[in-house]
């Protein structure tokens, strides 16, 4: 009886993935900034300085400034990314912004993921008129135009972080309901579900212990994408004046402050926060993709 003599009992190995590493690095970096960003900048990100529209130092000045700031011989710390037309230090605001952007994005994602997963589980596992109604409501919510709905909700409810989180959660929840439900519909006919039933496990226990954990993968992968998009949406809302209020450090708000000057050639207040968004959202997208490849 050596039918499994050639089976190795060691778990299979995984290969190193460059993209995954890049994604993890970016996400870890942004998370770190969200924790300590507001404290490590040379200036208070919410206070103006008397110096207005100062351009960033040129490359040749940087060594001197670095030396100066370490030896404390400068009259004021350098404006690494210049100042905007109100006198805010762009660099301090760029590194303080993850606190706002990431908090909103994470909170919105996990609120909608939590609600969406549970509702999706119920809607997929127990099919009755109640869950059908739930799906119809979710359909209607999903037909809301995302950006405009978020804009309306925030503008009318008041431009606070909490309201932005709720608005984003409202537009993202239907996505999670659908994703989880589709997966539950597949997983609830799995053999292990029937096996659990054949040993008398109560339905609700089957749903939460067997079906839910096995149906979460697509939603968790989607999370990474959703967090990235939530950051884009948050900054977009600020850009059109329906996001957080100034002087909260937020990337979109910084871009918006600089937008009017860009035609006049004052590029730095907008370009640096934009690069930050670009890298951050890319990092989340890469991470999400690596997870998708690994788990699907």
């Amino acid at each position: 009886m050596n039918e499994f003599a050639d089976t190795t009992f060691a778990a299979p190995k995984r290969r190193f993935n460059w993209l995954f590493a890049i994604g993890v690095t970016i996400v870890a970096g942004v998370t770190l900034l969200a924790l300590i960003g507001p404290y490590i900048g040379p200036y208070d990100p919410t206070l103006t300085t008397p110096r207005v529209s100062v351009p960033p130092p040129s490359l040749s000045e940087i060594p001197g400034l670095l030396f100066g700031s370490f030896s404390n011989t400068l009259e004021h710390p350098p404006h690494w990314m210049g100042t905007d037309s109100s006198g805010y230090d762009v660099f301090s605001r760029v590194i303080a912004a993850p606190r706002t952007d990431l908090t909103i994005a994470l909170a919105a994602n996990f609120v909608s993921l939590g609600i969406g997963a549970v509702l999706g589980l119920l809607a997929g596992y127990f099919r009755n008129w109640g869950t059908e109604l739930l799906m119809r409501v979710s359909d209607v919510l999903q037909s809301f135009p995302v950006f405009i709905s978020a804009m309306v909700l925030v503008a009318l409810a008041g431009r606070s972080m909490g309201n932005i989180v709720l608005a984003l959660a409202l537009v993202y929840t239907p996505i999670y309901i659908r994703l989880t439900r589709a997966e539950v519909l597949q997983k609830k006919v799995a053999g292990y579900v029937e096996a659990a039933r054949a040993m008398g496990t109560p339905e609700i226990a089957i749903a939460f212990r067997h079906v839910l954990p096995n149906s979460m993968t697509p939603a968790l992968i989607q999370s990474s994408v959703t967090i990235g998009f939530a950051i884009l949406l948050t900054s977009g809302l600020s850009f059109v004046g329906a996001g957080v209020r100034p002087p909260t450090p937020e990337w979109g708000l910084s871009i918006s402050t600089g937008a009017n000057q860009i035609i006049l050639g004052e590029w730095w207040p907008s370009v640096f926060p934009g690069i930050a968004i670009s890298i951050t959202v890319f990092g989340f997208a890469v991470l999400g993709n690596a997870l998708e490849e690994r788990y699907e």
């Binding site: 119809r136 405009i148 884009l232 059109v240 004046g241 860009i262 907008s270």
Partner: protein, 341 residues
């Protein structure tokens, strides 16, 4: 098929009705005071009451809803009478206003989409042909990158470079300069009207103003399209029927055609969703380039608490999206015989 279409349209109308009612209540339940916004914070209580009366906000909520839906035509015409109400800010009918703003957006988004699609299909395919190769990795990283970009920021960047630095683009101030007289509208789509009226100067000017916003939007939307084409194409190329086709010696060209068709069918749904998403996301790019599209109209209405206009915008965008979904589902059904109605 006719039966399917009419059923879809029926379901769509129900969905829009539900959406209308939902939006109606949501914006009225939120703690915003449109009257104060209109008459100003320091207005006298009498002025306030008068404004409230004028807007019909003194009536009970359900009556207001009835009016909006068109059950009380003697008070004001509503949805049933094909009216979206009157803007509280301008006093113009909302439907008419949307009629002038919407074509600008549709024109922009459609151009960007066609442009992005035409470029994305060959790029996505090139990636799929040699999975894991250098070209594929490049295509893949590009698609992830493009799909995660703030398009409004790229707009500003392009304006800085093309307008300020190099001077090769016109100022980002709308489709036409104030000095140009627009042609009398026929379809409402400026590009089409310019051609129909033979105003090629207008066509040229509008196109030159559209170059940067279209590039921006197509760049961002090319990310998900390339990713999807690449993925579907790979799946098609790895499918059993392609392997089998090779094992009976079908020519390369035939194999390619089999795979392309198989990759296109499932792409349609996602294209539809992206289009709907762009339609609402065009707000940002319109704002950057001062294009007077539905997005600008939405911002104006939202910031002024102009409820009828807000409701109109949400409803119209949702309706356009539903029509697009339906059209693309029909295209998909034409490609894939397994989908039957």
């Amino acid at each position: 098929m006719l039966k399917y279409v009419s059923r879809r349209v029926g379901v769509g109308l129900l969905q829009l009705l539900a959406l209308t009612i939902a939006v109606f209540f949501i914006i009225r339940l939120l703690p915003a005071d449109p009257v104060a916004r209109l008459v100003g914070m320091n207005a006298s209580p009498e002025a306030y009451a008068q404004a409230e009366q004028q807007l019909g906000l003194h009536r009970p909520l359900l009556t207001q809803l009835g009016v909006y839906l068109g059950f009380d035509p003697e008070i004001a015409p509503g949805l049933i009478q094909a009216s979206l109400g009157v803007s509280w800010v301008t006093g113009e009918p909302v439907l008419k206003e949307i009629g002038t703003f919407l074509p600008v957006t549709l024109q922009l988004v459609t151009l960007a989409f066609v442009f992005a699609f035409v470029l994305s299909v060959p790029i996505g395919m090139a990636g799929a042909l040699n999975p894991g190769g250098g070209a594929d990795k490049g295509v893949f990283v590009y698609s992830l990158f493009a799909g995660s970009q703030p398009e409004f920021w790229w707009g500003l960047l392009l304006i800085y470079l093309c307008f300020f630095q190099w001077g090769i683009a016109p100022a980002p101030l709308g489709l036409l300069s104030p000095l140009t007289s627009a042609p009398e509208p026929i379809t409402g789509f400026l590009l089409v009207d310019a051609v129909l009226r033979g105003r090629f100067d207008v066509l040229h000017e509008a196109l030159s103003h559209l170059v940067l916003p279209v590039i921006c939007l197509s760049f961002v939307v090319s990310g998900p399209i390339i990713k999807m084409i690449r993925q579907n194409m790979m799946r098609a190329l790895q499918s059993d029927f392609i392997l089998y086709g090779r094992s009976i010696g079908l020519p390369k060209k035939r194999i390619g055609r089999y795979a392309l068709r198989a990759a296109m069918a499932p792409s349609m749904t996602i294209i539809g969703i992206l289009y709907g998403f762009m339609l609402s996301g065009a707000v940002l790019i319109e704002s950057v380039f001062s294009l007077n599209g539905i997005g600008q109209y939405a911002i104006r209405s939202v910031l002024n608490f102009d409820y009828p206009a807000i409701q109109g915008v949400v409803l119209v965008i949702a309706a356009v999206s539903l029509v697009i979904y339906l059209l693309l589902d029909l295209i998909q059904a034409a490609i894939d015989p397994r989908i039957v109605y």
